[in-house]
């Protein structure tokens, strides 16, 4: 029985030491003092000078089409300004999301970064004073005339980072995107559907018709968890309309337990119960769901315009739904990540010139040529009939009619987690629509308390 003694004699002083050190460490001030958000910004100029400048740029343009466009744009910018060298660091969206925070909080951050909109990323960066407000450059480069105001709003915050869509612009976006309804024309013809649905009610009726043919009515795969945001956001936007959803996400009014929010959840659960969604969707990847839709195994698919290249097929169409009583289509989407300037950069003028070059008017031709949807689609762009033409048409109409609702995960820093987990529970029938909405509301209410 003397055996344990030796270990104890050694561990007790060790634990005491750790506890003492911990107490000392805990007396230290907060890990990061608040950076000054109100520092005055110097005069701005279109002139990038002639001295040698290296701009470090972090982007997330890793997919084939956009990666090629980015390379061409960077090369063209270097030809225009030979004294500016672009040092490009390209990471996938998820990798960028996890590493950008660390990079920005260091002493030597990149000059230009792509920041995700909403409270979790851009809001946190603005709050910590890591991004440079760009109102002055917006005036200099005429961005307010070029970009639709609703899209600039998405890239804006109050200077304290607490109010999204506030007064200060923190970046502009390069590409546009929409979550919409892809449909397979031959599957629809087989089910006797002549025109694609225009409302949620029509879609539900069409799903029933496709079910009768034995095909999967609505392809869905949610093992990656984020497609849950797209499905719920798509249905919610098409039921509640733009104003309601936008106010809710930017925390200005409304509750997640309101009638239209519960209705959207009910709709999805009803589709699941009726066997309209891919069976076992929670264990199927979105890539698999897209591939099987592409092979004609399902009639409809709700996902983003970024699958345009994958679903490039004359049999595939793309549309969005109109909320009851509304004049125009409304769906979730908006724009790619914002191109922003960090507050510690020493080359703000060159950074702004770069952003204007790769995301502004001069970038559209290169973007379109490589199969991307520029954030502002020029009237001259008329792709041949097919899914690309559908997407360009829908995006142009919906963005001009101001029918785009923001991604729901912008709502709070933890909303991505809350919504994705709850969406899986909803589809699995483990949460009632009311309980699902209460979960979202609890997260929303907690953030409302802490952010104010």
């Amino acid at each position: 029985m003397t055996r344990p003694q030796r270990t104890r004699i050694r561990t007790i002083p060790l634990l005491v030491g750790v506890a003492v050190l911990a107490a000392v460490a805990a007396c230290a001030p907060g890990p990061a003092p608040r950076a000054s958000n109100t520092a005055s910004l110097g005069p701005v100029s279109r002139n990038v000078g002639s001295g040698k400048i290296t701009l470090t740029v972090w982007d997330q343009n890793t997919d084939k089409g956009i990666d090629e466009a980015q390379q061409q744009l960077n090369a063209a910018f270097h030809r225009k300004h030979p004294n500016v060298t672009i040092k490009r660091v390209s990471r996938s969206f998820t990798d960028l999301k996890t590493t950008l925070k660390l990079a920005l909080s260091g002493d030597n951050p990149p000059d230009v970064v792509q920041a995700n909109q909403g409270y979790p990323d851009m809001g946190a960066f603005v709050k910590a004073g890591l991004l440079r407000p760009m109102n002055d450059y917006a005036d200099l480069y005429g961005w307010r005339d070029y970009y639709p105001s609703s899209l600039l709003k998405l890239n804006s915050f109050s200077r304290d980072g607490k109010t999204w869509q506030g007064g200060d612009l923190y970046g502009v976006s390069q590409t546009g995107e929409l979550v919409g309804l892809y449909y397979n024309k031959s599957v629809l013809a087989e089910a006797g559907i002549r025109t694609p649905p225009k409302t949620v009610a029509e879609l539900t009726a069409d799903l029933k018709k496709v079910k009768a043919t034995g095909k999967v009515p609505l392809g869905y795969g949610d093992v990656d968890k984020y497609p849950g945001i797209h499905l719920y956001g798509f249905v919610l936007s098409a039921l509640a309309g733009r104003a309601k959803v936008n106010d809710l996400v930017k925390s200005s009014s409304g509750a997640w337990t309101d009638a239209s929010e519960v209705d959207a959840a009910k709709t999805i659960q009803r589709w699941q119960r009726a066997g309209y969604l891919t069976p076992g969707a929670n264990g199927i990847s979105i890539d698999d769901a897209v591939a099987s839709f592409g092979q004609g195994k399902s009639g409809f698919l709700v996902t983003g315009t970024w699958y345009e290249a994958t679903l490039h097929d004359k049999n595939v169409g793309f549309t969005a739904l109109t909320p009851p009583g509304a004049a125009n289509q409304v769906t979730m989407g908006g724009e790619g990540l914002s191109w922003s300037i960090t507050s510690k950069t020493r080359h703000a003028n060159a950074a702004a010139a770069y952003i204007d070059f790769i995301a502004g008017r001069s970038s559209t031709a290169t973007l379109i040529k490589n199969g991307n949807l520029p954030v502002v689609v020029p009237d001259s762009d008329t792709p041949p009939a097919g899914v690309a033409a559908d997407i360009t048409r829908e995006y142009r109409t919906i963005s001009r009619a101001n029918g785009i609702t923001p991604y729901l995960d912008y709502t709070t820093p933890t909303f991505y987690d809350t919504l994705t987990a709850a969406a899986q529970d909803l589809v699995a029938g483990r949460l009632t629509p009311a309980a699902f909405c209460q979960k979202l509301q609890a997260d929303y209410a907690a953030f409302g308390t802490s952010n104010r």
Binding site: T2, R3, P4, Q5, R6, T7, R8, I9, T11, I12, V18, L21, A22, A25, A26, A28, G30, P31, A32, P33, R34, A35, K97, T98, K101, L104, S105, P120, A124, F125, K127, A128, G129, L130, G161, V223, D224, K225, P279, G280, A281, N282, G283, I284, D288, P413, T414, Y416, D417, T420, A421, A422, Q424, D425, A428, R430
Partner: protein
């Protein structure tokens, strides 16, 4: 419980002079000893000690990782106990211990007795290597392989259909009650090889005379196992337990790749929660508290297992 006993002075030789002389010599010797451990300690302090203390500090703050932190007291630790998601994460880690530790050790012991009876097996090292292979493959690769095995038209479901059990086929990683078991089973598959290699080397050290004696006394294979093999392998079992239990508690990669904690939150584990809160949702304080709580749990469990180790006897 028995802390008082640890304070009992060690028996010392009588005679004040002898005692004093011994003490100074001992002290000088121990000072030199500190110099020897200094390099190792410096590495530990810089790469483990300091970050550990920093993590403890973070755990008492409410911090998004970027802007100013606010003092949170023990709220983050309270949340580890009260937040149902975090409580569930620790519960899942306990369930995984069965699959990562208990099952592999039981299976490996069984295999050890079988294999060790095949005296002087040819190409033994080849089998040993093959069984150890899962440990060598990068865990992301292992996880990806199992995602495809568990997929709707994967190996497992196709196998079930082939033998007429198609009704059991399901999307394993999407099943709320089975996803955790599915992830745990990957851990079993991973750890059996490790345990087996440990046990086989242990069995090699048991004097064959013991088995001969047992057989002469009329012991069957079962009796032989419990009377000779198992007691002799106590050290190896303790090592295997430490390694596998720790791997169960700190598991992250398998969950990250296979399910991201889903469906719902049914497969989250503390390691995943710590990562996700720190880098995903900007809750650095909470992430640090989870990490510290996990460290404490691992220390306690390892200390308990340490008691099994026969080297400590005496």
């Amino acid at each position: 419980m028995t802390v008082s006993r640890t304070r009992r002075p060690a028996p010392v030789p009588t005679g004040a002079g002898r005692r004093a002389g011994r003490r100074t010599r001992g002290r000088r010797r121990s000072r030199v000893a500190y110099l020897y451990i200094l390099p190792a300690f410096a590495v530990f302090a810089v790469f483990l000690g300091y970050p550990f203390l920093q993590t403890i500090q973070y755990s008492f703050y409410d911090w998004d990782g970027l802007s100013a932190a606010t003092w949170a007291g023990v709220a983050n630790y309270a949340a580890v106990v009260t937040d149902p998601t975090l409580r569930a994460a620790f519960g899942h880690a306990l369930v995984l211990m069965v699959f990562y530790a208990a099952l592999p050790i039981a299976i490996a012991l069984l295999l050890t007795t079988l294999i060790s009876r095949a005296h002087r097996l040819r190409a033994m090292s080849v089998y040993r290597t093959v069984l150890f292979v899962p440990q060598v493959i990068a865990s992301v690769v292992v996880a990806t392989i199992w995602v495809s095995i568990y997929s709707p038209d994967g190996l497992l479901n196709e196998g079930l259909r082939l033998i007429g059990l198609g009704s059991l086929a399901r999307v394993w990683l999407a099943d709320y009650s089975l996803a955790l078991v599915a992830v745990g089973f990957v851990g079993t598959w991973l750890n059996v090889g490790l345990c087996l290699v440990l046990f086989l080397s242990g069995v090699g050290n048991i004097p064959p005379v013991l088995y001969e004696a047992a057989r002469i006394d009329g012991a069957g294979p079962v009796r032989e196992f419990f009377a000779i093999t198992l007691p002799s392998l106590r050290g190896q079992v303790a090592v295997a337990l430490t390694l596998t239990v720790t791997s169960a508690l700190k598991t992250f990669d398998l969950v990250y790749v296979t399910t991201s904690g889903g469906p719902g939150n049914s497969t989250t584990v503390p390691g995943f929660e710590a990562y996700h809160r720190a880098f995903g949702t900007g809750q650095v304080g909470s992430a640090a508290a989870v990490a510290i709580a996990l460290t404490v749990v691992i220390m306690i469990v390892t200390a308990l297992i340490h008691r099994l180790n026969p080297k400590e006897v005496g």
